[in-house]
């Protein structure tokens, strides 16, 4: 295993998640930041690096009373926060800053204001010229397009696909903060309202309000903070295309494969070292692509792996233990919540705690299979 690259010394979500109409997007960022600062036991003045997506980092710095000397506004969708962790590690190692705050906040449900989503796109953009004219209306009609090719290639039924939300609901039932906790069956999933065939409503994430924040510093400084530290062991990032129609292989994400392999190599771990896994799941097919593209099973094997209960409570590889984007919450850019659950698991404080979880992988996606980032976290100093 590689040496610890950085320590997460503060981690928190907003005081409430789900439906929070009394907080603006900006305040959701701030609320999460204040909670993370309290977790770390430091004042805002100690922060000298700031990274965020979906909000102007300069505006946010001033709002929080922070004077950063390092700023990262990487905003490539839901995995931006994984990239912020990766970029923060590099910045701290390079000496550009010492204590980085990463924030997320989104009023996806209450829309105070609505999350920024550039739709319709500019008519001169490539998406505007070659995708938007065909009636795509956001993620449910774009992110979903590859799946019929995947299902045909591997001979996988819609019933198997429907097992993804069924199993994740089993995890959500163990999490008091989850948006949806009632058990569901394959029949429930398939009988729910059709959104974009073959995707029914229960195969799509909800839209909720919330936020989260992380504080990152050098590993040797971890003991200066009041929280139990979580170490960044490795990371990866990769991009493919913003046009779903131009994704090279509809049965596998090139960005997932590249980012995942880079993170495992960087951390010096193999798959059997991983105790807990988060795979960004805005839609039901993402855990299938994620499990395969990260190498936890062979191509076309993920649906069986999930249906047989290997990722479910009590399974050998617990996945999306907060209930995932499908059942826990999804504000729009879910990556921060996957990171928060990975931190909770390796701290040993998750609502659905995996016994003795030492290493967790949080794998994110941005756009529609456009871009990816993967973070490996652990609770021991290697």
């Amino acid at each position: 295993m590689s040496k610890a690259q950085a320590a997460i010394v503060g981690a928190a979500e907003t005081t409430r998640i789900g439906v929070v109409p009394d907080m603006s997007q900006l305040q959701l960022h701030a609320d999460a930041a204040i909670n993370a600062l309290a977790d770390a036991g430091i004042a805002a003045g100690k922060i000298d690096g700031l990274a965020t997506a979906g909000e102007d980092p300069v505006l946010l710095a001033h709002y929080l009373g922070i004077k950063p000397t390092w700023i990262d506004g990487t905003a490539v969708g839901g995995c931006s926060f994984m990239m912020h962790v990766r970029h923060a590690v590099a910045a701290i190692r390079q000496g550009l800053c010492s204590t980085v705050l990463i924030t997320h906040g989104e009023s996806g449900k209450s829309r105070v204001p609505a999350p920024f989503f550039p739709w319709p796109p500019q008519p001169m953009s490539l998406v505007g010229q070659f995708e938007a004219p065909f009636g795509v209306v956001g993620a449910p009609t774009m992110f979903t397009i590859p799946v019929l090719r995947y299902l045909k290639t591997y001979g996988i039924s819609l019933e198997k696909l429907a097992m993804v939300p069924v199993i994740q609901r089993q995890w959500a039932a163990l999490n008091p903060k989850a948006t949806f906790k009632d058990p569901i069956t394959v029949d429930d999933v398939l009988a729910s309202r059709m959104v974009a065939y073959p995707f029914t409503l229960l195969m799509c994430c909800p839209q909720t309000d919330g936020g989260g924040a992380l504080i990152i510093t050098a590993p040797e400084r971890a003991t200066e903070f009041s929280s139990s530290p979580v170490y960044v062991l490795g990371s990866g990032e990769a991009s493919e295309t913003t046009m779903i129609s131009q994704m090279e292989d509809f049965t596998s994400s090139a960005a997932f494969r590249s980012s995942g392999a880079a993170a495992f190599k960087d951390a010096g771990i193999s798959h059997h070292d991983v105790d807990h896994l988060m795979i960004y799941d805005a839609f039901a097919h993402l855990p299938l692509y994620g499990l395969e593209d990260l190498g936890f099973c062979g191509r076309g094997e993920a649906a069986d792996m999930i249906a047989e209960g290997h990722t479910a409570p009590g399974g050998s590889l617990p996945v999306n233990t907060n209930g995932g984007g499908l059942s826990y919450m999804h504000s729009g850019m879910y990556g921060m919540y996957a990171l928060q659950e990975s931190v909770r698991q390796v701290r040993g404080i998750a609502p659905a705690q995996v016994p003795n979880a030492k290493i967790s992988v949080a794998h994110g996606v941005g756009g529609m299979f456009s871009v990816s980032s993967t973070i490996v976290l652990g609770n021991l100093v290697p």
């Binding site: 070659f130 209306v137 009609t141 309202r193 959104v195 065939y197 129609s245 131009q246 509809f250």
Partner: protein, 138 residues
């Protein structure tokens, strides 16, 4: 037709030849003269070898249905449910489109079914390439 105005794209200097082509009922991609790679979307250089020595290539219009969804969401100018598809052209590249002149059902829309291009005028400048089953009247 659903309420609202249908989305109409705008050509750029790099894509004008494509939209000029569809307006004339032709599907014009580009091919590299150096490495022979045929590609889409348009750009004045080869995305495989980097050469600027590229030329228009008119396609046969024959394709197969690669993947799709049937959207049940309202979109301006569309009557749900409607297919949003990606087709693979005989020449290799894939593009997004709608499959028309066929029921918008999973039973009628079968992956790998042979398709051919047809054109729909949106404005004086923009004509969209759509696809229909081969053998159907256009």
């Amino acid at each position: 037709m659903d309420k609202g105005k249908r989305y109409v794209p705008t050509a750029t200097p790099e894509t004008k030849h494509f939209w000029d082509g569809t307006r004339q009922g032709r599907l014009v991609l580009q091919q590299c003269r150096q490495c022979e790679h045929t590609y889409f979307p348009p750009r004045p250089f080869c995305c495989k070898c980097g050469s600027r020595d590229v030329a228009p290539r008119e396609c046969s219009g024959r394709a197969r249905l690669y993947s799709y969804v049937i959207s049940h969401r309202a979109a301006p100018g569309f009557e749900a449910p409607y297919s949003i598809a990606v087709v693979e052209l005989e020449e290799g590249p894939r593009l997004m489109t709608n499959i028309i002149n066929v029921p918008q059902t999973p039973e009628a829309l079968v992956l790998d079914m042979p398709l051919r291009v047809t054109f729909k005028e949106l404005s004086n400048e923009i004509t969209l390439p759509l696809f229909e089953p081969q053998g159907e009247a256009s």
